[in-house]
């Protein structure tokens, strides 16, 4: 990874599902709490919202005894952020430290970022006509602080640090890692999940897609647009050539007519 890249590692083996991170996120970002209902699996609110940028998801792992998997869900902060590529006004910036941040002053609420995100993260606020998501606490990082969720974590599940150093440490200790190499669509993520307890089952138990992508978006970007521009260019070139050809033919015809008239 490039120098200066940061990472938040989520060691799911240590998580107790206390939601301190979720509360800290609300507090630091000054996002209002929302009314929630009964959730049969304890995830509350049940999904991300424009004002809830991270949630704890609770999942039962079958076995004897049944185990709980606690998944912290938020923006993954992709290095090749598809949301940033999709934004028509450049409102989404991928910072050198890895944070993918929506500048809400620039956002026009088009929701193209939502179309592009393979992790289904950005959320649209119809009242403000803007899209919101986790900021990686860029404001804290730039001032030498840890992200709010990391600072609030009581068990050391969440750690913040240099990408290579922290991910390398977990790898050398034999953890299964998700995020350091994902695919060409998202690159690598700056939220990295690790486990030893559920080694080999990390993706399955924590709903982490092995190959996150949006095929229609990719087809549009890699096939429709290049072919479209190419054919448009060819057409314009062909018309220019035809114009020259037709003009030459006309001159030739005029000349023939003139010569015919003389004879």
């Amino acid at each position: 990874m490039a120098a200066g890249e940061k990472v938040i590692t989520v060691n799911v083996d240590k998580c107790i599902g206390c939601r301190a991170c979720q509360v800290a996120c609300h507090v630091w970002n000054n996002t209002p709490a929302i009314y929630t209902g009964f959730s049969p699996n304890f995830t509350n609110p049940e999904d991300l919202t424009p004002h809830t940028w991270m949630i704890m998801e609770y999942k039962e792992i079958p076995g004897d005894p049944v185990a709980w998997a606690f998944k912290k869900r938020q923006c993954m902060h992709c290095s090749n952020a598809p949301c940033a590529h999709a934004c028509p006004v450049g409102a989404i910036e991928v910072h050198p430290n890895g944070a993918v941040v929506i500048n809400d002053e620039k956002c026009i609420g088009c929701r193209y970022c939502i179309e592009a995100c393979p992790y289904d993260v950005p959320r649209f606020d119809p009242i403000k006509n803007k899209v919101y998501k986790c900021t990686f606490c860029i404001d804290r990082i730039q001032n030498g602080l840890e992200p709010a969720c990391v600072a609030a974590c009581p068990t050391g599940t969440l750690q913040f640090g240099d990408y290579d150093e922290l991910v390398g440490k977990y790898k050398s200790e034999g953890y299964e890692v998700y995020g350091d190499k994902v695919n060409d669509y998202v690159g690598h993520t700056h939220y990295v999940y690790v486990t030893k307890r559920w080694k080999g089952k990390l993706k399955e138990y924590f709903d982490l897609p092995a190959d996150p992508r949006r095929p229609v978006i990719e087809f549009n970007k890699n096939v429709v647009r290049p072919i479209g521009w190419g054919l448009t260019g060819l057409t314009l070139a062909a018309l220019a050539a035809h114009f020259v050809f037709w003009r030459a033919k006309r001159v030739e015809e005029k000349k023939e007519k003139k010569e015919g008239g003389k004879q």
Binding site: V89, I108, V216, I227, H242
Partner: protein
């Protein structure tokens, strides 16, 4: 055309068609101007800036974003305008469906090959060819334009009112809208070029923008089969 008076001019385009074509040009111009900064901001972002900076004097925010937001609204208003002028046009056209000259003359492969040969002979060899009011290329163009316009309308509707549709529908609509743009990006220059920059076609342009009528001699020279049909009806 009048019955007993000798025919000198032929009605090529009805008033309704001229009216629609004129407005289509206005709306297409609006679509192109406001669509280009959205699909190719690297080259046409200046249009968004041109729209955004003056408005930024009274509306706060990022001028570029403001320009794109305004462009998107003009784009949508143009779509509403085009829909409004399309309604009377389509109704009139449907009423006159039997008079349409854009149906294929026949469906066989040899017929198609003949149509292609006519196109090559006329546009590449500048030869006289036996065609009706429209040649194969013009017919294909018209059908493709109508289908693409419909696809642009449907996909644009999904993108505008996306709250009523699922996210996968947004993605498909976005892609179809982009693909439709490229179909028009190819078809419109061909259409405008063949109409405006080929001097032999000038009477057709005058007919579409002014009188609606074509000199009979022009029809005889450029559209012999149509000429035969017209004069045959009168004979």
């Amino acid at each position: 055309m009048t019955g007993e008076v000798e025919m000198k001019e032929v009605e090529a385009f009805a008033e309704n068609q001229i009216w629609f074509h004129k407005h289509l040009i206005h709306f297409m111009a609006a679509f192109i101007i406001t669509g280009l900064p959205q699909i190719w901001p690297e080259w046409f972002g200046w249009i968004a800036e041109l729209l955004g900076y003056p408005l930024n004097v009274v509306i706060p925010g990022d001028p570029y974003s403001l320009g794109i937001a305004v462009a998107r609204w003009i784009h949508r208003l143009a779509a509403v305008g085009l829909t409004l002028v399309l309604i009377p046009f389509v109704l009139k056209q449907l009423a006159d469906i039997k008079k349409w000259e854009i149906w294929p003359e026949c469906w066989s492969a040899s017929c198609f090959n003949k149509g292609v040969k006519n196109l090559i002979d006329y546009y590449l060899h500048k030869k006289h060819v036996e065609v009706g009011k429209y040649n194969l290329g013009q017919k294909a163009w018209t059908w493709l334009a109508a289908i693409t316009l419909f696809a642009m309308g449907v996909s644009g509707f999904v993108m505008w009112f996306r709250g009523f549709f699922g996210e996968e529908a947004w993605r498909w609509a976005h892609m179809i809208h982009d693909a439709g743009f490229f179909v028009f990006a190819i078809m419109l220059p061909v259409h405008v070029y063949l109409a405006v920059l080929i001097p032999e076609h000038k009477p057709m342009v005058s007919a579409m923008f002014r009188t609606g009528k074509l000199p009979l001699e022009f029809v005889k020279e450029h559209h012999p089969n149509w000429y035969k049909k017209l004069t045959g009806e009168k004979q």
